[in-house]
Symmetry: C2
Subunit: 334 residues, 2 copies
């Protein structure tokens, strides 16, 4: 591989001049510029990004940690981040945290050890103290999917309360009075907020909140199945079911159908997240759009703006969910 030195030699200029034409950050005469360019082409010169990093103290790479790589939720988030960063010629290094505290911390350290210019993370298990400390360390960190007051400038989040509200309202406006709710893990904030939204919708429609109608799920299809089973076993007269994510909705629907309910006639179902397969399940799932791609894009923009001085970018930190109406909700049957 040719080095900058060889280029300077062939071009008959100093190595400093070569560096200047590469970085376009100083005046170089047209003659010299041409000589350098020719020499570069002749030698098929490619600068060493490693050497550049060492000298400039910038690696042009940002670390990304998500819970897992498969699954369209993180897929879309990564896609937003990658495409944005790629356009800006920044490399993205991925790591997974698997939703476990130890592995999340480990993953973050791994990224830090790599001299990333910034980190974008989506954590699930780590606590706020840790995040606050992390944000005060030397490497810039941006966090997707959480809101912590002390470090709010680093957070990008969805208005989950609104999402929960919209989901439940979608069945209430169809006349349903007995609606079951399968929530996410009760220790997760997004899960709590979605449930709060659910309750707000209920009270807005003058329906009393009843603990029996909410089942604590796990964000997996098994949680949906178990929740549905529980409601049926307890003979709750629900005509509508709101699930805190699409996986659980799918699990619940499968269980319901296996037990001879006609969907959506006998049971209306609403999901949350609008993952890809929501369109594939039957009936097509009415759900809440979670703009993860956009949130990923925005996280990338935050690092571009704050770390790489792309000052013209405008940042938005709270995203709004919207209702996607498909075919899994029917009006109440009389």
């Amino acid at each position: 591989m040719a080095t900058i030195y060889q280029v300077s030699e062939l071009a008959g200029v100093s190595l400093a001049t070569v560096s200047r034409v590469m970085n376009k950050n100083a005046k170089v005469s047209e003659k010299s510029t041409k000589k350098v360019l020719d020499a570069m082409a002749a030698l098929n010169y490619r600068p060493s990004s490693i050497a550049q990093s060492l000298a400039s103290n910038r690696t042009n790479s940002v670390g990304l940690m998500v819970t897992g790589l498969s699954g369209s939720f993180f897929g879309q988030m990564m896609a937003g981040i990658e495409s944005t960063l790629r356009k800006a010629k920044k490399h993205v290094i991925i790591t997974t945290g698997h939703g476990e505290e130890a592995r999340e911390k480990e993953g973050i350290e791994f990224l830090q050890s790599r001299d990333c210019d910034a980190l974008i993370i989506h954590v699930e298990a780590v606590d706020n103290e840790y995040l606050i400390e992390l944000c005060n360390s030397d490497i810039p960190v941006y966090i997707i999917g959480c809101y912590v007051e002390e470090i709010k400038d680093h957070c990008i989040a969805l208005d989950n309360e609104l999402g929960g509200y919209l989901a439940t309202k979608a069945v209430l406006v169809q006349g349903h009075k007995n609606v079951g709710y399968i929530s996410g893990p009760s220790n997760k904030l997004d899960s709590q907020h979605r449930l709060q939204g659910h309750r707000r919708a209920l009270s807005e429609f003058n329906i009393n909140y009843n603990d029996d109608y909410v089942y604590p799920g796990n964000y997996l299809d098994t949680g949906g199945r178990d929740g549905m089973r529980s409601f049926m076993k307890n003979k709750l007269p629900i005509t509508a079911l709101v699930c805190a994510n699409d996986e659980m909705a799918s699990g619940a629907m499968t269980y319901a159908r296996e037990h001879n309910l006609m969907l959506p006639h006998d049971l209306s179902v609403v999901g949350f997240d609008n993952v890809i397969f929501a369109r594939h399940i039957h009936p097509k799932l009415t759900t809440i759009e979670n703009p993860v791609y956009e949130m990923g894009t925005m996280a990338a923009n935050m690092v571009l703006k704050n770390v790489y001085q792309h000052t013209d970018l405008v940042i938005e930190q709270e995203f709004k969910p919207t209702l996607i109406v498909r075919q899994s909700v029917a009006p109440i049957q009389n």
Copy 2:
């Protein structure tokens, strides 16, 4: 950030000694070792991976290019790669090729510019000439999902012909005689091979191959829908449908149901790939397991073995698909 020099100073040894204890590649007295370790801890020293890379000519990072980030197919592939490489403390840098020739080449160049120690790629649009040339360049490349004779040592692939065979056989053994086939794009090798397997199964069951029974799809659910529509419009008496991937199977099933076919009673369907949502669609999809996670793991192992001298790893380059029986295939109705 503390440097190795400061550590050496505090420890009262030379910087070479510090380097030695870090890399454990030379004898250092216990006393010195302890002094160094203490100094490191006291200074909270973290080696600069950039400087290490420059000096050692190893970046410990491998580039990964896939078509897209969302979707469980690539998700699982990435997961296999990431987890394997992560255990070996190698960083993975991701890029997307979007299935377009120009963008795939661009992505590969982007990765090369980053001084990766090796590349793992899954391409769809680039031609064999390019791949051969790429394999002869200075950076080691491993290719998932293709088989090219000239560079077979670099390839990891699924036996797609066998997969196609197994898929079709799954309905033939249930007595079906009229089976439609929705293929992938005809210019893609995997698509061609799956179709070949389909034909082999047919001939093994003494069924004449008929062009009218195969619809050229696109690997998207729209292709499945269009294929099903075409078969129905032409009034082909098919009782079973084999699709070259799960997306198309899903699209076809939706269309079939919208046109009053009972599944699987009126139409048996088989997919290919066993992506996550295959379990969510109704009836649960019988399909072909595509061991992408394992293939990703193996690709990672190949770079570990060939680039990082993990000599004990055993490599396997061709993977075998298997049939996953669920509920979308029923015996022929008499």
